[in-house]
């Protein structure tokens, strides 16, 4: 598949006038469509450094814009606006206002690592996508994505007990994102399993939901991780001058 390139002419910049005369010449209608020029008024010179300071973004400076990442990208095949190469370019030249146009989809990277596999310069584009999504949230350009809320719920459980219990994560995640648990397809799925699942197994699953699985001798490890995470959070905020 060819690499999808972004058209730099945006529909809102195409101007067609119903009734326009310039120096007595009729320039109305489609045949004399004008394109409003695109102006980038300001550059954020710190943008690349800030992304590079966040976990995953460290190697963004290696990029030489070959486009292998976008060409191999799983999400790009579903949504052509998802374009890692283009975003890396914008970050490196500091075109923050252009980057912000795509702020609501950058978190959608599925971490399949096809880009990392294809990248000839070891940029680790997957990490750059995560760092960029993180940056957007820290700077307040986007609210926490559903993915971030899921990650936080998951990590909190690991820190607390050393393990996760999938049912609890799903329930808490749906509650935090305001989604009903009884969605059509989830109900249908449970029905299909329940039809064949023996009673004993169902009981075991219910018990796991009540008595959370825990790692023995976990308390000190959990506390040490928690301390480290807080330390890193402070460091990340400082790198973005958010103190």
């Amino acid at each position: 598949m060819a690499i999808h390139e972004k058209s730099l002419i945006r529909p809102e910049n195409l101007k067609t006038h119903e009734n326009l005369f310039v120096d007595g010449v009729d320039v109305s209608g489609h045949w004399s469509t004008f394109i409003e020029s695109r102006v980038v008024a300001d550059y954020n010179e710190a943008l690349e450094e800030e992304i590079a300071a966040l976990p995953g973004g460290e190697h963004i400076h290696r990029c030489w814009q070959c486009g292998s990442c976008t060409n191999s990208c799983t999400v790009n095949a579903v949504n052509p606006d998802f374009n890692p190469r283009y975003w890396i370019y914008l970050i490196r030249v500091g075109m923050e206002s252009e980057l912000l146009r795509d702020k609501d989809i950058i978190w959608q990277c599925v971490s399949c690592n096809k880009c990392t596999y294809a990248c000839p310069r070891d940029v680790f584009p997957e990490g750059v996508m995560k760092a960029t999504a993180h940056w957007l949230e820290l700077q307040g350009h986007t609210p926490k994505s559903k993915s971030t809320l899921f990650d936080e719920e998951f990590t909190a459980q690991v820190v607390a007990t050393g393990k996760i219990e999938e049912g609890r994560i799903i329930r808490n995640f749906f509650a935090r994102t305001g989604q009903p648990l009884l969605q059509d397809w989830l109900v249908e799925m449970v029905k299909r399993v329940a039809r064949r699942l023996p009673f004993k197994q169902g009981l075991m699953m219910a018990l796991a939901a009540v008595f959370r699985p825990r790692t023995r001798k976990w308390r000190k490890a959990g506390a040490a991780i928690s301390e480290y995470v807080h330390e890193q959070e402070a460091k990340n905020r400082k790198a973005l001058s958010l103190e």
Partner: protein, 305 residues
């Protein structure tokens, strides 16, 4: 005797939850083949994808704790993880600890505070359940032990992302004949072919199922999964063989979701490769947890049973 004859076993969280059937079928197949498993004591979550997104070094620590217990307390030389996520994370931690001083420093600091020995890179070999059976038993031996050939069963082998990508954390792969390939993985194909199955030509072996956002971005996941299911059907498969609990439940979940939300129905069944090998070795479907799957694998297996 193979060094994989007795290995430390790291099932991971998913195999105690949605991947329960993968756990029981792995153990049952190991038992039937005379391979032994010592479960890692007091293991913890490997960090999966989610902890990495919060902070990658915490994920490195979590995986290193599991390896530290296996290597230092259990004196094991090999640890086997059937879950692609766990396998990937242990491999990644191994790579980072061998190559990155900052990771070593962080892991050492947290390990000391947590009160256990720091894992030293190089003291443990991490393998997948596929390596365990392929290297520990091999196709010839597997053929000798067959009780119930899968002849006539058409299988699409689905490996997912984490088993082969990124390639630098799998130094033993892509090493020529006999080794696993990161672009065209074949260990599962080899084992199932030995069990008599007919592997179809499946182009999406290492495509992504969207597992990372299976709930947080369900629409994209459904489209990615539907791609995989429809490609497998177009290739003529009755069954998609899986080797990862996240991929497996993702395929099953979004098969139902595609039907309910997009009105696109697919009938291909998902079975763990250990369930298929178990059937071929004559183990009862109930012991292999086939009734726990969402898609009714028995419909496809009736062809060979």
């Amino acid at each position: 005797m193979s060094k994989y004859q007795r290995v430390a076993y790291y099932p991971g969280c998913a195999l105690e939850g949605t991947g329960h059937a993968y756990n029981s079928s792995t153990k049952a197949v190991g038992k039937a083949l005379g391979l032994e498993l010592d479960e890692v004591k007091d293991w913890n979550c490997c960090g999966a994808m989610e902890v990495k997104n919060v902070d990658p070094k915490v994920q490195t620590y979590l995986s290193s704790r599991v390896m530290s217990i296996a290597a230092n307390e259990m004196k094991a030389s090999v640890v086997m993880a059937p879950c692609n996520g766990c396998y990937h994370n242990l491999k990644k931690a191994e790579y980072d600890l061998a190559n990155d001083a900052a990771s070593r420093e962080t892991v050492d600091r947290i390990s000391k505070k947590a009160g256990h020995e720091t894992y030293q890179a190089g003291s443990l070999e991490t393998i997948h359940a596929l390596d365990w059976i392929k290297e520990g038993i091999g196709e010839e031996e597997l053929k000798r032990r067959l009780k119930n050939s899968l002849k006539g069963l058409k299988v699409a082998n689905y490996y997912g992302c984490m088993y082969t990508r990124p390639r630098h954390i799998f130094p033993e792969k892509d090493q020529g004949q006999g080794s696993e390939s990161t672009s065209q993985p074949h260990f599962m194909d080899d084992l199932l072919a030995a069990a008599g199955a007919e592997n179809v030509d499946f182009p999406l072996k290492t495509a992504c199922c969207g597992g990372a956002h299976t709930l947080s971005d369900s629409d994209i996941s459904t489209r990615l999964v539907l791609n995989i299911l429809e490609a497998a059907e177009a290739a003529g498969a009755d069954v998609i063989a899986t080797e990862c609990p996240t991929c497996h439940s993702g395929l099953e979940m979004h098969q139902v979701r595609a039907e309910k939300v997009l009105g696109r129905k697919t009938t291909v069944k998902m079975l763990y490769f250990t369930q298929l090998l178990g059937v071929a070795l004559g183990i009862g479907p109930r012991k292999l947890g086939i009734h726990e799957n969402v898609s009714d694998g028995m419909e496809a297996l009736n062809k060979v049973l």
